[in-house]
Assembly symmetry: C2
Homo-oligomer: 173 residues x 2
Amino acid sequence: MAEAGFARFSAREVAKRVGYSVGTLYNVFGSYDRFVLAINTRTLLGWTQALEDRLSGAGPDRIGALVNGYFDFAEANPNRWMALYDHRMPPGEEVTERFNQAFGGLIGIIEREVAAVLGSPVDAVTHALTGSLVAIVHGHCTFALNGTYRSFGGDPRAAALARIRAALTVTHY
Amino acid sequence: MAEAGFARFSAREVAKRVGYSVGTLYNVFGSYDRFVLAINTRTLLGWTQALEDRLSGAGPDRIGALVNGYFDFAEANPNRWMALYDHRMPPGEEVTERFNQAFGGLIGIIEREVAAVLGSPVDAVTHALTGSLVAIVHGHCTFALNGTYRSFGGDPRAAALARIRAALTVTHY
DNA sequence: GGAAGAAATTGATCACTGTCTATTTTCTAT
DNA sequence: ATAGAAAATAGACAGTGATCAATTTCTTCC
């Protein structure tokens, strides 16, 4: 996935490279979508770990550390990161519990820092605000990786951080 | 594309439905990627038109009209809108000039309104800020359409608009 | 050590995809 | 009516996800 990217990823190619037949892959994972989901869960866990590492070595600007950690992981693993959003479950099928937990864990890390900055408890309000802040960084990161941001000019991660700070400032009042 | 979505879209199926053979589609468009690009260019032009219509019937809150127009188009045409970002050119190949122009036109509409709100001329600074604001809305809209925002709680378009206003407020100073 | 049963693995097969090209059909202008 | 250009076709190719009966490998117990 890291090497080929979501569009060119193939279960058969994986089977060939790991020395198993296609059938085994399907016995283990059930379907192509569940296979990709397993990979994406792994990516999510690695990303969470990267953010935690950033925070543990961070100075007073923990929000800045998170935004930079977010971008750094995505830029270091563009194909894996993009696969997280390129892949969609077929209509009717639900995402794995493990995947949801991994995603929740990632958001939880960010949420704690958002609440800390605002001096608020971790509640529904900070949860919703965290989602919105993540959406801000996600949008900037997406445009950075797919080349859209180049036509805008400026540094996407600096812009994202500025918008986050503005949001947190205004929310203070 | 509107009906099947990017993942399940197929040139052969299109050929069948329009009553031509696959070969003709390839004679006309050159490749699958260029075919999708032609569709996406059309989507971009339709989206631009929708935003212009909104603005022409808008009250004093033109930024609000843009954000709502952005969301409304995406929610009314989820598959077409998502295809805009799901599709990526194969490495080495470039996007059509027509596509870039259509995208530039869309951004231009937003940029004029951003400059107007700030009382600034349309220059490199407002251009970069516009890109950042579009990234904000894009992130919220993406999470709204792919279901991610549900787990956050709250209304994605209201959140996007609040973040935009915060960004424009802080930028004033 | 060997046999019975469970577990894991295989590969052939299916319907589908994008891509390409030689061939045929249709149109256009003289 | 005809020569030449343009448009459209069908079929072949290599690749995909999916399925499943048949085979191989591993456990377990006597």
